[in-house]
Structures are given as structure tokens and as C-alpha cells.
């Protein structure tokens, strides 16, 4: 691991100022915030991340889950994944988020990993993690060996000729379906970014994964109040029963009246280069009877633009069945 300067800021403003001098907030950033450390320290040991300065935000007062006057839920940046999953309000009103969090990682990692860290979780693509290999995400312009190489677990949605790396998060898939807003404090002030605008497609710049700029500190996430009677499910399919990243997952938030779907929010995990909201599936369902035939049509709509690689064609049908089954579970629970 490379040497670095370790800083513990007194408040968020000091943290932002210390990070604002960075050249980039994206891959290869020379300044990093650290909270749980479960992604960052892993990548620092691999020399994939080599920050010269590490800013410890664990002792900033960002560890609360609070109801707000407008009925939304405010989740602090350093709330641990385990605390969020077991929070009574989250379990009662945002069950899809609790289920997604508990489907991720291990109990130990969930005790460490935070809301903001999970938002910025990095891909598990083996070429990204291995500095002996070319990788456009890690070193722009070096190529993507995954496209002709080992790509069984990689993405089928949102890929480009430069990168097919999967976003590995479960939490973010649930947050995409819940239409979360990410709140950032930066050198020029604070701003609120809908989660749908937070992540970037790889395109020709896979090293840029989010809209964050140097000094931007994620302070909290808000979840809007949900319509009453909405049903929620997170379903995750993987190579083993526990402690594994998704091959395909689906987050479903759905409201039904008189047998018809009146409102649907759907996101997929394990198949996209970012947490994959599917307006196509939502449109295919809204106003239609909640039955297996329409669930299948929605699943087909969600994967219409999927592009398989040499080893991961199976993910397309797996994701369809995952979504159709999640819809079935949500509407029969």
C-alpha cells in the first residue's frame, strides 16, 4: 500500500476543504474520503486506488436516520448498512431497502459499510482489480480485456465498447426503485441529485462513474414517502445462497388497485453498468392487470436492449425470470 496522509476533519466543511484540492473525485483520485473502508482499503491493498490523502469521515455527525417534516426519510452518509437494514422505519416502510441490504455482503461487512460508501461501491470486474491487466476504467485507453475474456458475471445493460463492468451494489438497486435523492456538500455549496442522475454510463470514459467533483461529500440520502399500500420485494439470484454478488437482482415497488397495477417502480441489479432503473418495465405494467403474463411482458421490456457478451448470455433470461418472480412475490405477499 502506498503511503498517505491521514486526516480526521472536525466538521463537514473541513472535510470538503481538505478534499477540494483533489484533481478528480473519480478513479485514481489523489484524495479519498474513508468511512467503512470495505471497498477502499481492499482496492488500496491492490494498488488500484492510491490516494495520497485519506479523510476519515467516521466521526462526523452523519450517522442518523431521521424522519423529515415533509414525510421523507433522511439517511446519514455514515449510517452502517446493518443499522439501516434493521431500522424500524426502514423495515416497515422501505422493506425493499432492508431486504437488499441484508442480501449484500456478510454481517461483519454490513457492520462496517456505510450508506455513502455503498453508493460509491466499485465494480468486482477482475480486470479492474488486477493492475497487471489493461482496463479502461482504471487506466483510460488501455483497453477492455473483459470483452474478449472472462465476462460471465459482467453487465448486459448500459455497456460500451470500452467497458462492461457491473455495478455490484444491492442497496443502490433498492434506492433506485425508491427514487432516492443523494445530498452532496461541495466547495460551491450543497446540492441534491436524484439517484437516476448520479451515475454515469461508461461510454468512452468508464473511469468516470458518478457526477461527483473534487471536494464533493455525500452527506445523506433521502427517500420520499411512499404511496400507501405499496408492495415491495428485493429478489437476488447468485451462484451460492449467501455472501455473493448478484448475477441478477430485482427491486420492485408496486401499487395495485382493483387488480390493476396503478404505480410501479422497478430496478435491476447485477446486469447493468449502473443501478438499473427500468422505465420500460414500469410502462409495460402501469394500468395493466397484475398477472403472470404481464409480469413476463414487463421483464421482456426491461431486457429488450440487453447486449450479451461471450459468457453471460444466460443473464438476460435469468434477469427476466428474476423480475417476473419478484413481481409475483410482491403481488401475492
Amino acid at each position: 500500500m502506498h503511503t498517505f496522509e491521514f486526516i480526521r476533519p472536525a466538521d463537514a466543511a473541513e472535510a470538503v476543504a481538505a478534499a477540494a484540492q483533489a484533481k478528480t473525485a473519480q478513479q485514481g483520485a489523489d484524495v479519498r474520503f474513508v468511512a467503512g473502508g470495505t471497498t477502499l482499503l481492499d482496492l488500496m491493498k491492490l494498488n488500484v486506488e492510491t490516494p495520497a490523502r485519506l479523510i476519515d469521515i467516521n466521526r462526523l455527525p452523519l450517522d442518523k436516520v431521521e424522519a423529515t417534516p415533509d414525510g421523507s426519510l433522511k439517511i446519514g452518509a455514515t449510517v452502517r448498512n446493518s443499522d439501516l437494514a434493521h431500522h424500524p422505519t426502514v423495515q416497515r416502510d422501505y422493506a425493499v431497502l432492508s431486504q437488499a441490504l441484508l442480501a449484500g455482503a456478510s454481517a461483519q461487512l454490513r457492520n462496517m459499510a456505510t450508506t455513502s460508501g455503498n453508493l460509491l461501491q466499485r465494480t468486482r470486474c477482475m480486470y479492474f482489480r488486477d493492475t497487471a491487466m489493461p482496463c479502461n476504467k482504471r487506466e483510460p485507453g488501455t483497453g477492455c480485456p473483459a470483452i474478449t475474456g472472462s465476462n460471465r458475471t459482467l453487465a448486459v445493460l448500459g455497456t460500451s465498447e470500452h467497458c462492461i463492468a457491473t455495478n455490484p451494489s444491492d442497496m443502490c438497486v433498492a434506492m433506485a426503485a425508491l427514487e432516492a435523492t443523494i445530498h452532496v456538500q461541495g466547495p460551491k455549496g450543497s446540492r441534491a441529485i436524484p439517484i437516476g442522475d448520479f451515475y454515469l454510463l461508461p461510454g468512452s470514459t468508464p473511469n468516470r462513474e458518478t457526477v461527483l467533483e473534487p471536494g464533493d461529500l455525500v452527506t445523506h440520502v433521502t427517500l420520499p414517502a411512499l404511496r400507501s399500500g405499496s408492495k415491495q420485494v428485493y429478489l437476488k439470484l447468485r451462484d451460492r445462497a449467501s455472501y455473493e454478488f448478484a448475477l441478477a437482482s430485482a427491486a420492485v415497488v408496486i401499487t395495485i388497485a382493483g387488480g390493476n397495477v396503478t404505480h410501479a417502480r422497478i430496478a435491476l441489479g447485477g446486469v447493468g453498468t449502473k443501478p438499473w432503473r427500468s422505465p420500460e418495465a414500469e410502462a409495460a405494467l402501469t394500468g395493466k392487470p397484475a398477472n403472470a403474463a404481464n409480469f413476463r411482458k414487463a421483464a421482456e421490456a426491461a431486457m429488450r436492449d440487453a447486449k450479451p457478451q461471450s459468457e453471460n448470455k444466460f443473464k438476460i433470461e435469468l434477469a427476466r425470470r428474476c423480475l417476473a418472480h419478484a413481481l409475483q412475490l410482491a403481488t401475492t405477499s
Binding site: M1, T3, F4, E5, F6, I7, V34, G36, G37, T38, L41, D42, K45, A52, L54, D56, N58, S82, H86, A105, S106, A107, Q108, L109, N111, M112, A241, S242, Y243
Partner: protein
């Protein structure tokens, strides 16, 4: 090994023998690892002094860890993981290094009462915090109930993952967990046992849960 009453210059353990005979080479390597400007890079201009019994590492940061109920004043390179700090700086070697990437659970310890992977955390991030390791659970004469249950149910073969398994299992007792074996397996999935002692481990945990 300062906490081990059975080891000392006249009664060396395997570990004190190895660390003593290797000390000359180790000191050279440590010096080579620390860059000349590490002092200013770490932001601690007063950090040249060595700890009471640690090597003189430039750029080291002073921290206090409360480990198994006892305060340790330490100076650590900021890169030192909590795992390496426990094993190499404090010489509590019951906590094991397996994958060193948060995938196997051998390094599981409790921080402020919660289980974590000590390999994916920096020691400096835990200044002032309370750490419990396997050495803090019980003694050979008075085992923690979980340690006794692992012995009774033969919850290991080679034993390398065992301290992590036990630290995880003890933490699990205070976490939301359903009554059946499947719930225990799910919450123990972050601890890999290459010998495959899983069935016995689950039996040991279930026995302690029933008795508590």
C-alpha cells in the same frame, strides 16, 4: 507476547523465537518502507519518537486502543490495518490473517461490541475505541460458553478460521437472528471454513443460543 505468562527469554514460544531471530532483517525492511518525507506526509511533525517497544517508524501516528479491557498506547504507520496492529504491534496473534481482503472472516474481531473484518480497517480509524479479540473472551481455565461449545461439538479441524468463527458467533448472539439453522448459516456466511466444519459450527452456536 507480553500478556503470555508462559513465554519469555528463558521459555520462548515459537513466535517469540521467530520474531527475535528475524528482528535484524525486519528492521531494515521497515526503514526501507518509510519514505524520507513520511513525517510531513503524515501531518505529525512530532512523530519521530518510537513507542515504548515498537520500532522507530517515521510518520507513525499515536493512538490509544482499548483492547480486551486494557489501554494500549501505540504508534502506528497510518497504513497499518487493525489486524496487523493487533498481531504485529500488540502481539495478540489469536486473530488470524486469511485472505486480507474481507472475504474469509478469519480476522473477525469486535469493535465497540460489533463484529468487523479487522483486515479492512485501519488502526488509526479506531483511536479511543474498544476492541475485543479472541484473547479477551475467555481463558484456558474459564472458556467463554461459545469456546466451550466449539470444543464440545468439534467445530473445527485445522483451527485456523476458529477464532474468527467464534468472534462472529459471539456477536451473532446479540444480533437479530431467526431460530433455525438456516438463519444461523446466513449470519455466519462471512466466515469461511476450508475444512468444512460448518455443520458442527452451527450445532455449537445453536447449543449456546438454546442455553442463553
Amino acid at each position: 507476547m507480553r500478556d503470555n505468562p508462559h513465554s519469555g527469554p528463558l521459555n520462548p514460544t515459537r513466535r517469540t523465537f521467530l520474531s527475535t531471530t528475524g528482528s535484524t532483517a525486519a528492521a531494515t525492511i521497515i526503514a526501507a518502507c518509510v519514505p524520507a518525507d513520511a513525517n510531513s506526509a503524515a501531518g505529525h511533525s512530532d512523530s519521530t519518537a518510537a513507542g515504548a517497544d515498537g520500532p522507530n517508524i517515521e510518520g507513525a501516528v499515536p493512538i490509544v486502543l482499548r483492547i480486551n479491557g486494557k489501554d494500549y498506547q501505540l504508534r502506528v504507520d497510518p497504513r497499518t490495518t487493525l489486524l496487523d496492529c493487533l498481531r504485529e504491534t500488540v502481539a495478540l496473534t489469536g486473530t488470524k490473517k486469511g485472505c486480507d481482503h474481507g472475504q474469509c472472516g478469519a480476522c473477525t474481531v469486535h469493535v465497540n461490541g460489533r463484529r468487523v473484518n479487522s483486515c479492512l480497517s485501519l488502526a488509526v480509524m479506531h483511536d479511543g475505541e474498544e476492541i475485543t479479540t479472541i484473547e479477551g473472551l475467555g481463558t484456558p481455565d474459564a472458556l467463554h460458553p461459545m469456546q466451550a461449545a466449539f470444543v464440545a461439538h468439534d467445530g473445527y479441524q485445522c483451527g485456523y478460521c476458529t477464532s474468527g468463527q467464534i468472534m462472529s458467533a459471539v456477536a451473532l448472539l446479540k444480533e437479530p437472528c431467526g431460530p433455525d439453522d438456516a438463519a444461523v448459516k446466513e449470519l455466519m456466511s462471512g466466515n469461511i471454513c476450508r475444512c468444512g466444519a460448518y455443520a458442527h459450527i452451527v450445532a455449537a452456536i445453536q447449543q449456546v443460543r438454546k442455553n442463553s
